[in-house]
């Protein structure tokens, strides 16, 4: 989906002009942070609360550390941050990038394979890109290119998804669910052309994988607006930093580590 340059300029101005960076000074990993996004004040847990713990947060931390160490984008961010410490790189991400990462990783951690208790978060082999709102080189914004993670999945995960027969449990709602979806319309970030498959989980809001099974390359996002509502085709469809979206997220998934300030 493409949005005109005029509309985009207005939209971007509306977004970024209202994002207030965390205050400089004290080491930001030690305390919760507040930021303003589109005239609303949000609160994000401390870095320690987001990444430390014996639960899914340990896996989340490992994924982010691997991203900083081994992905091209993570290495570039580390270079720009002047540090290879994952916590330092984390604080160079925009609020949209941070919350996209946190929401998707929480969502993936919520969906469990009943047989082995692995979650979909275990499927990520290497996180390669974290996308917030991003313009294309021509100034447009494509809805299928924003608010998502690009990742290489494990071979076993790609095979399972491609097989299209999966039976999972949502550990928050306690419901069983599987995948739906026909062919993908999203651009494959690893190759020219489209991804081979599209697999949304059959809950709402749903996690959606667009995947090429041979390369294991995938884009993962969360669709907050049901198709074929027009808003589904707008970039904000996958943006969790909208109060209504976060509310629906909270009914399905583990708390991501941020929310509107009470």
């Amino acid at each position: 989906m493409r949005v005109s340059a005029v509309a985009l300029a207005a939209s971007l101005a509306g977004c970024f002009a209202t994002v207030t960076a965390p205050p400089a000074g004290s080491r930001p990993t030690e305390q919760a942070q507040e930021f303003v996004y589109r005239d609303q004040t949000w609160r994000m847990d401390s870095h320690a609360d987001l990444f430390n713990g014996n639960d899914f947060r340990a896996r989340r931390r490992a994924i982010f550390e691997n991203y900083v160490a081994n992905s091209a984008e993570g290495q570039r961010r580390a270079k720009e941050a002047g540090s290879t410490v994952a916590a330092d790189v984390w604080h160079t991400l925009t609020p949209e990038e941070q919350t996209t990462f946190l929401a998707i990783t929480s969502g993936l951690a919520t969906i469990e394979h009943p047989a082995n208790k692995n979650t979909l978060l275990d499927w990520i082999d290497l996180l390669e890109e974290i996308r917030g709102l991003r313009q294309e080189p021509d100034g447009s914004v494509q809805g299928s290119h924003v608010y998502r993670l690009y990742a290489k999945l494990t071979k076993a995960a790609a095979t399972l998804i491609a097989g299209g027969r999966a039976d999972f449990v949502n550990t928050v709602t306690k419901k069983r669910l599987d995948f739906g979806g026909l062919g993908s319309t999203h651009d494959d970030y690893c190759a020219s052309g489209k991804f081979e498959l599209q697999r949304p989980t059959q809950n709402h809001p749903h996690l959606q994988f667009n995947l090429t099974s041979t390369s294991c390359c995938a884009d993962i996002d969360i669709d907050y607006i049901r198709p074929p509502l027009p808003a589904h085709f707008r970039p904000d469809n996958s943006n969790v930093l909208i109060a209504a979206h976060l509310n629906t997220f909270a009914k399905q998934y583990i708390r991501p580590g941020f929310g509107l300030k009470p």
């Binding site: 989906m1 493409r2 949005v3 005109s4 005029v6 509309a7 809805g143 299928s144 299209g164 027969r165 709602t173 419901k175 669910l177 599987d178 995948f179 739906g180 979806g181 026909l182 062919g183 319309t185 999203h186 489209k194 081979e196 498959l197 599209q198 059959q202 809950n203 709402h204 749903h206 049901r226 198709p227 074929p228 509502l229 027009p230 808003a231 589904h232 085709f233 707008r234 469809n237 629906t248 009914k251």
Partner: protein, 247 residues
């Protein structure tokens, strides 16, 4: 005839948004939707392909919330399965039109994104037990708002009951529009299709499941609030499946 209807549909909905007299393809297309050949006419010669996909391609069954184990059983006749597909497909299309009529079918302004104001969600007006229809008619949802799954013959009957009156009310909404409003509505829906990407995409996976029909190719393209799947079989292109427009 089917090919002609399809050509008119695709041409009308992929055309640039420009002011046109009421006698143009857009108006003709809108008239066809009112007169009801629409989805049923489009798929009139495609029952074998549609049923094959629903019975053998699990993702095609899931698209319309059918559990593949159910469609692979003999609990549902081919004709019933095909009618269910037509009912759901028609509901998505009619609902897209009805969303337009609710808003007065004003011409959208793509630059400002006002399509979201003009095409408002049409809330489900039909419930059966805990099931209801999601806004825009793309899904049946349970009491929690999650997608329902049709696992049994009883579920199947419940789903058909759910959609029957809703589809009729959507049609009435369309029929109440003036020809001019109808044209604007169709143009707005064409703009929605463009948002989803007008270009036709190859569908090799679907072609695999249609192999016994020996399709030369299977491609998909947006059409209003639907994604149509078109196959070239024995030199002629025909519609072989549809799904709610998605991204």
């Amino acid at each position: 005839m089917i090919l002609r209807i399809l050509s008119l549909m695709c041409l009308a909905l992929s055309a640039p948004v420009v002011q046109q007299p009421a006698t143009t393809l857009s108006a003709e297309m809108a008239q066809r939707l009112v007169d009801a050949p629409d989805v049923k006419g489009l798929f009139a010669g495609s029952q074998a392909e549609v049923v094959t996909l629903l019975r053998t391609y699990p993702d095609a069954a899931r698209t319309w919330q059918l559990d593949p184990q159910l469609t692979q059983s003999d609990a549902i006749k081919d004709s019933e399965l095909f009618d269910y597909f037509l009912l759901r497909t028609n509901a998505v299309l009619a609902c897209g039109i009805a969303m337009q009529s609710q808003s007065g079918a004003r011409k959208l302004d793509e630059a400002s994104g006002s399509v979201d104001v003009l095409i408002k969600p049409l809330e489900g007006k039909s419930t059966v037990g805990a099931w209801s229809i999601a806004p825009a008619c793309g899904a049946i949802v349970d009491a929690d708002g999650d997608d329902a799954r049709i696992r049994t013959r009883a579920d199947f009957d419940r789903a058909r009951t759910l959609f029957q009156p809703f589809t009729n009310s959507a049609r009435l909404g369309l029929q109440s529009m003036t020809a001019s409003d109808r044209q604007t509505a169709m143009e707005n829906l064409a703009a929605l299709s463009r948002r989803a990407g007008v270009g036709a995409g190859a569908e090799p996976e679907m072609a695999k499941y249609l192999a016994r029909f020996e399709p030369a190719a299977v491609r998909s393209r947006p059409f209003a609030t639907l994604r149509l799947y078109l196959a070239t079989i024995r030199g002629a292109e025909k519609a072989v499946f549809a799904a709610p427009l998605n991204q």
